[in-house]
């Protein structure tokens, strides 16, 4: 399937999903669906760097929060609406991604992971001290009751996140099947060999960190309206990182399909568990599944599905 056909198919699926949700018209469904879609974006974005290229980003929350705070800053300054702040968030988080890639180009594997963790703390400190976006006290962004065109505001947020998620999945798939994807895979499998055979590893890594960061920023951009009250400690929560990584790894990191399956499954389970049991059990489920999968099924659900026909 070519990228354009896939885009058409993905848009079709998204339209059907939105059609069903709008027909059911339950606010809670939009509320929970938004989180699931947000994780589809985060997991797909993480996977471009973590899965294809083999660089583990533990600073997911930094890019996600940068997206959210871009919205706050643009709202405060010029009252820009969400459709304008989402691309802006992509640019800001993407640039930070490229900057991080540039700073940490010489680092391999684990050191890169530690650097991303440090980046998250540094970013959090800057945001905490930046009073214009609320600083440590936090910022209120109250949304109107109704969406701009139709339905409730949460329905509007759901639709926006659905569009972003479709975009992220299409981009992840297009990257995977292009020369970029082959370059990323070469870096993951053996960076020195890739460099020696003429793969521009340096530039490719910058593309991966920038693209991955930009998509994470887009996932974060609508967050201020979703939560109404944004403050650094919870926006930079490490739980975003463990959820995202778990979803991508449980789904399977080598294809675009893995993070999609992982995020839809795990985020749905989390939403159900939050309502039926408790919100703490969420993280427990994620931790247990992550540990179980990396031990017993290192290639994730996609790996399990692929192995069956052959054996």
């Amino acid at each position: 399937m070519t990228n354009w056909r896939f885009l058409a198919a993905a848009a079709g699926v998204a339209a059907i999903v939105f059609g069903i949700a709008a027909w059911l018209n339950i606010d809670y469904l939009f509320f929970a669906g938004y989180v699931v879609l947000q994780y589809v974006v985060l997991a797909s974005a993480w996977n471009i760097l973590g899965g294809y290229t083999g660089y583990m980003n533990l600073g997911v929350s930094a890019f996600f929060a940068l997206g959210a705070y871009t919205t706050v800053a643009l709202e405060t300054a010029w009252k820009l609406p969400l459709p304008a702040t989402i691309p802006a968030a992509a640019i800001v988080a993407g640039l930070v991604g490229i900057g991080m890639g540039y700073l940490t180009l010489r680092l391999k594997g684990i050191f890169f992971a530690i650097a991303t963790l440090a980046l998250a703390v540094v970013t959090e400190t800057f945001i905490t001290n930046w009073d214009y976006v609320g600083g440590s006290a936090g910022a209120y962004l109250l949304h109107p009751k109704r969406g701009p065109w139709f339905g409730s505001y949460i329905e509007y947020l759901f639709l926006l996140m659905l569009i972003v998620a479709t975009f992220a999945v299409v981009v992840a798939r297009a990257v995977e099947r292009s020369w970029l994807g082959y370059g990323f895979t070469a870096i993951r499998d053996d960076e020195t060999a890739a460099e020696a055979t003429g793969v521009p590893t340096l530039r490719l890594k910058l593309v991966a960190t920038g693209l991955s960061g930009a998509l994470m920023g887009m996932a974060g951009a609508p967050l201020p309206y979703y939560v109404s009250f944004l403050e650094p400690a919870s926006t930079f929560n490490l739980a975003y990182a463990v959820n995202t990584i778990a979803m991508a790894m449980i789904g399977g990191t080598t294809t675009w399909l893995g993070p999609l399956i992982g995020a839809v499954l795990l985020a749905t389970v989390q939403q159900v568990a939050t309502v039926t049991i408790s919100s703490e059990i969420n993280l427990m489920v994620v931790g247990v599944l992550l540990v179980g999968f990396v031990m017993l099924a290192p290639n994730g659900i996609v790996g399990l599905l692929r192995r069956r026909p052959r054996s």
């Binding site: 973590g50 083999g54 583990m56 533990l58 700073l103 940490t104 010489r106 680092l107 594997g109 684990i110 050191f111 992971a113 530690i114 650097a115 963790l117 440090a118 980046l119 703390v121 540094v122 959090e124 400190t125 800057f126 905490t128 001290n129 440590s136 490490l238 739980a239 990182a241 463990v242 990584i245 778990a246 790894m249 703490e280 059990i281 993280l283 427990m284 994620v286 931790g287 247990v288 992550l290 540990v291 990396v294 031990m295 017993l296 290192p298």
Partner: protein, 292 residues
């Protein structure tokens, strides 16, 4: 704010003492990371588990918290050996340990944290010991025993470990396994057994570090997260696997944090420490004491 002489000296003392505690917390991670190539991101959380175990022992039998930490080391040593066996079986043996191993410990960290929340709740917990509330004053200069006792314990612990690594056969084998596991086989020592012992020791150190945590500050299940960044900053600064390097790096971090608190403001101090870490990683990844 004017910076007076006693304020500066007290900040330096507090930074030095906190740094000693950071060293105790980091030493297990640096042994695992630097000598065994196991990135145990859950190490600070293991220390928090240790702190809760200390809390339980202290409440039940009214034993001094640091003695409790010592009593717990054999349990943590055993648990660490077991954990290494699991890690070895599922990751090291397959050869693709780095990323998945990290994800494994990342997952363990959250499991442990939630388990602690379910067992103890999210309230802050304290222990009682006579020295926790005592401060020795020398004129304007204060020496809080709450920090000084863990500092002394930490330095003793690092010195004992350093002696062990330098003087005993097993200790030397642990250092050797990092450099050349094959050579170890030639003298009929199993690298896996040595690594198991080393990881056990790394985890045992978390029990003592946990006792120090609960002496220094009120305890809460998620407190381990605050330390992950610091611990790995110290591992990298200290040059991975070098114990004197770890102590110097930890004390420097404590001092930098405290000085930036009084000169720039408390809310900026994390950025100073981690900005330094990022800069080190970018320009000198082998650390200050590492072999480049």
């Amino acid at each position: 704010m004017t910076i007076t002489y006693p304020l500066l000296v007290n900040a330096l003392i507090a930074g030095l003492l906190m740094g000693g505690f950071y060293a105790a917390l980091s030493v297990g991670a640096t042994v695992a990371f630097g000598l065994l190539d196991i990135v145990n991101i859950a190490h600070p959380t293991f220390a928090v588990i240790g702190a809760y175990a200390v809390l339980v022992l202290n409440r039940a039998f009214n034993i001094d918290p640091i003695i409790c930490g010592l009593l717990l080391t054999p349990v943590f040593y055993g648990a660490g050996m077991l954990l290494y066996q699991v890690y070895h079986h599922f990751f090291e043996r397959r050869g693709d340990d780095a990323m998945r191993g990290l994800a494994f410990f990342f997952g363990l960290m959250f499991i442990a944290e939630v388990a602690l929340i379910m067992l103890f709740g999210v309230d802050f917990r304290y222990v009682h010991a006579p020295y926790i509330t005592t401060t020795w004053n020398f004129g304007d200069i204060a020496l809080p025993l709450r920090l000084a006792v863990p500092f002394a314990g930490s330095v003793l612990m690092l010195a004992a470990l350093e002696l062990f690594l330098r003087k005993t056969f097993v200790g030397r084998a642990i250092v050797a396994v990092a450099q050349d596991p094959f050579a170890l086989r030639l003298v009929a020592v199993s690298p896996v057994r040595i690594k198991r012992i080393a990881f056990g020791i790394a985890c045992a150190s978390a029990a003592l570090a946990g006792a120090f945590i609960i002496v220094i500050e009120p305890l809460q299940p998620a407190v381990g997260r605050e330390f992950i960044g610091r611990v790995f900053a110290i591992c990298v600064f200290g040059g991975l696997g070098s114990l004197p390097g770890t102590l110097v790096a930890a004390v420097s971090l404590g001092l930098v944090e405290n000085l930036s608190t009084i000169f720039i403001g408390a809310s900026w101090s994390p950025a100073v420490a981690f900005g330094l870490l990022l800069a080190t990683l970018a320009w000198r990844p082998s650390g200050l004491f590492g072999r480049s």
